[in-house]
């Protein structure tokens, strides 16, 4: 390319005060390939841009260098102007002679020399620039939401209400997640079920939501706009199309003593069951591990009593493939179960506080089930050991959380608030009871949160003891809690009837495996990583995948709902166009030279590099090369600097362009 126009801006006096712009223009005219050079007071102004467009036409320019301010300021302006003049916008570059020259140097001769050098570098660069066209990717306007807790439900409803199809996948037999287990919610103390169950019904009744419960993600293929998802629908042993949800099978099931996981094993359920009465869908599932029919084949009562003939012992796991354009991951959390150390856990501190040994030491979620009107006790707070009403309850905060020596250094964020709530719920139900709370700090930022916490202390008379618990042991039918009150500097010993541990929030089991299937990154605790902590808090670095709820970090319900709606908004933005347009600054592989070492694949943070097989006409494999998916590539260029055979190039920053710039030194 040899017909380049150089346009030097005075920027009022901002540049011309220290840089002799006329001299720079003069020098530019002598540069190889420059067909036209001029200077003007305000290049970015309307007359300035007109001047540029006219010059392109008059001098048949094939490339443009605008020597003015930083490209961060006006690159877009001048590239648009170049496009309006009929040039490819990527043939226009800016030489930064204001921020990097006139504003930072005071010697006029030196600044002029530097400005000339900068212009020369950019002229050489533009000579090697190639026309680039924005990359377009078709978008399938259908979303996948993984996880049917409040985060997944909110995201699914928002996207579906906007008019798009949604596929919602839930691992458990019913949607609802943890929120369906809660009794009342802070800071308003409204009943969790009352606000949650209508939303669950909205999901199943929504014409645009396809619900896959008792299902898991088997495999994820494709990229933004074009994902192909294989979902494993586990065998329910009940035909969902035939079942009316009458519940006779559950009544007649002779197995009645299976601990109910939904009630944190406080209550019991039959082998054919729905996790809780308001389950959505209200279709039972057979727990094949405990069902007599599956153990020794000697029952079959449920099949006999089922009027519509929905019970099907022969049902198999099924694989379903769904095509979607975007994915919202909302897999939620689990509570750190400190009873027994799982195999391979890096976290220490299991079996502390007698959890797992002393029956009256429970975790926060178990307390929620005790306090819940739909719980195993009908909302009556009793001790799991003997069913008596506890008169002294000790709550311990920060169990696991903020314990660096044990392997969890983060704050679980919601425990301070839910412990305050627990003390209130307890006081409301056991008027003559006394609640004690051992805490390190009370962290109650949030609308009406601190007031709520103060209310627990001032009105509901919970006694807050600042300090940690050293030991919990059984003494008769009491549980003795020993700890320190560091505010007063004394040792405290409380003979409690019930101890509630606010254990840390952790990502769900298998969060890492799912992340690997999706190709998204996660931190050392297995919480999913957002693309940018401040500016892209709901997007994954992998394009087209978004995060909602506690799978990204501990979160309360309002934050979760807000994030879920934000993720839905991001999905809707993606779905607002038929084609996704991206900047063409992406890497390209030269397949002739690529030896298929795939070093590029290892350094790519976006999973944009794939293996591509090259075959001959008979279909025999010749060799494997790297392929960069332009839909995923973000254009960092790390692959290019890594490639040992120099067979991948980043458009817009090719070796040729950089070398041309360096040649001017």
């Amino acid at each position: 390319m040899s017909r380049i126009g150089v346009f030097i801006c005075h920027c009022g006096e901002n540049i011309s005060r220290t840089v002799d712009v006329e001299q720079v223009a003069q020098a530019a005219r002598q540069m190889t390939g420059v067909a036209y050079a001029c200077d003007y007071k305000y290049m970015c102004s309307d007359p300035g841009q007109t001047l540029l467009k006219k010059a392109v036409a008059e001098h048949k320019l094939e490339g443009i260098v605008v020597a003015a301010c930083s490209p961060r300021m006006h690159e877009k302006t001048f590239r648009n102007a170049a496009q309006a003049a009929g040039l490819n916008p990527f043939l226009c570059e800016m030489a930064n002679i204001r921020e990097h020259c006139s504003w930072v140097h005071d010697d006029r001769a030196e600044a002029t020399t530097k400005a000339t050098d900068i212009v020369r570098m950019l002229v050489e660069r533009v000579r090697k620039n190639k026309k680039l066209v924005p990359i377009t990717v078709p978008v399938t306007k259908r979303a996948l939401v993984i996880g049917g807790g409040i985060a997944g439900i909110q995201a699914a409803l928002d996207i579906a209400d906007c008019g798009h199809q949604v596929v919602l996948v839930e691992r458990e037999p019913s949607i609802g997640g943890h929120m369906a287990m809660l009794s009342e919610t802070f800071p308003t103390l409204d009943c969790s079920q009352c606000i949650m169950t209508p939303r669950m019904v909205d999901v199943i009744n929504h014409p645009r939501i396809t619900l896959h419960t008792y299902s898991e993600i088997e495999c994820v293929d494709g990229y933004i706009g074009n994902f192909s998802i294989t979902i494993k629908k586990k065998a329910r042993s009940v035909d969902m199309a035939k079942c009316t949800g009458c519940g006779v099978c559950m009544e007649k099931c002779p197995q009645k003593k299976i601990p109910n996981e939904f009630d944190k094993n406080l209550g019991f359920r039959p082998a054919i069951y729905v996790p809780f009465p308001q389950a959505v869908p209200n279709t039972p599932v057979i727990d094949r591990e405990h069902c007599t029919k599956f153990i020794n084949g000697k029952c079959g009562v449920c099949q006999k009593v089922c009027g519509p003939g929905a019970v099907d012992y022969e049902q198999q796991d099924q694989l379903v493939v769904e095509q979607v354009g975007a994915i919202v991951v909302a897999t939620g959390f689990k509570l750190y179960d400190i009873t027994e150390k799982p195999k391979g856990s890096a976290i220490k501190g299991y079996g502390e506080f007698g959890h797992g040994k002393i029956p009256d030491v429970i975790d926060g979620l178990t307390f929620e089930r005790l306090a819940s009107a739909s719980g195993p006790t009908g909302g009556k707070i009793v001790r799991p050991s003997d069913g008596k009403e506890p008169k002294q309850v000790v709550f311990v905060q920060c169990v696991g959380s903020r314990a660096r020596e044990k392997g969890i250094s983060y704050c679980s964020k919601v425990c301070c608030m839910y412990t305050a709530k627990h003390t209130m719920l307890y006081k409301h139900k056991v008027h003559d009871g006394q609640a004690y709370v051992f805490f390190m700090d009370a962290r109650t930022p949030g609308k009406s949160y601190d007031e709520f916490w103060r209310r627990a202390i001032e009105e509901e008379e919970a006694v807050y003891v600042r300090g940690m618990v050293s030991r919990v042991y059984q003494k008769g039918d009491k549980v003795v809690v020993m700890g320190s009150d560091i505010a007063v500097g004394v040792q405290v010993e409380i003979e409690a009837d019930l101890v509630v541990l606010a254990t840390a929030i952790q990502p769900r089991d298998g969060a890492d495996t799912l992340a690997q299937k999706l190709g998204i990154s996660y931190d050392k605790y297995n919480f999913y990583s957002e693309a940018h902590a401040k500016l892209r808090p709901v997007e994954c670095a992998t394009a087209g995948i978004y995060l909602a709820g506690a799978c990204q970090g501990p979160k309360d319900i309002p934050d979760t709902v807000a994030q879920a709606s934000a993720a839905a908004a991001k999905v809707m933005t993606l779905f607002s166009k038929d084609q996704l347009e991206r900047e063409p600054i992406v890497a390209r592989v030269n397949e002739k030279f690529c030896v298929g070492c795939l070093a590029c694949k290892k350094v790519c943070a976006y999973g944009a590099v794939e293996e591509k097989e090259i075959r001959d006409r008979q279909g025999n494999l010749i060799r494997v090369v790297a392929y960069v998916n332009p839909g995923l590539c973000s254009g960092c260029g790390t692959c290019q600097a890594t490639c040992p055979s120099k067979s991948v190039e980043l458009d817009g920053y090719t070796d040729e362009q950089v070398m041309a710039m360096l040649d001017t030194l």
């Binding site: 930083s70 490209p71 961060r72 930064n96 204001r98 921020e99 990097h100 020259c101 504003w103 930072v104 140097h105 005071d106 010697d107 030196e110 600044a111 020399t113 530097k114 050098d117 900068i118 570098m121 990154s521 670095a541 600054i585 350094v603 943070a605 973000s634 254009g635 960092c636 260029g637 790390t638 290019q640 600097a641 890594t642 980043l650 920053y653 070796d655 950089v658 070398m659 710039m661 360096l662 040649d663 030194l665």
Partner: protein, 161 residues
Amino acid sequence: MKHDFEPKIVAFVCTWCTYAGADLAGTSRMIYPSNVRVVKFPCTGRIDPVFILKAFQKGADGILVSGCHPGDCHYMAGNFHARRRFAVFRKLLEFIGVDLNRLEFSWVSAAEGGKWVEIVTDLTQKIRKMGPLTQFTDLADEEQWSGALSNPELKAVYDQV
């Protein structure tokens, strides 16, 4: 103030942090020596060590490579790849016989206009004292012209060939 020797300094910077930091130095009207020429990359991960050799060969007396602070990379891990790459590359450069003081690495964020000025000023002063880097340019001359060699050792080798 005029100096006997004004070095050529090339800065390889990423567009998101250091380039923006240098812009901030400009908008804050901080003054620093005019010796530096900035080459912009999307990420320090894109910077091939060959560029550094090329710049030295083309007459750069000092080189600065600067990107986002660890953990702040716009592309998540590009600066970590760069850091590893240059840790190895420095060894190579040392082996070739280039004084490592001529090559500077730093992290300058978009908010650190002052740090940019400081680094560029310090590097310029340091290189001024060190004098020009002639190894590469000499070598380039010799490569192009194979007649009388000024270095007797090289001449002996050349005659043997």
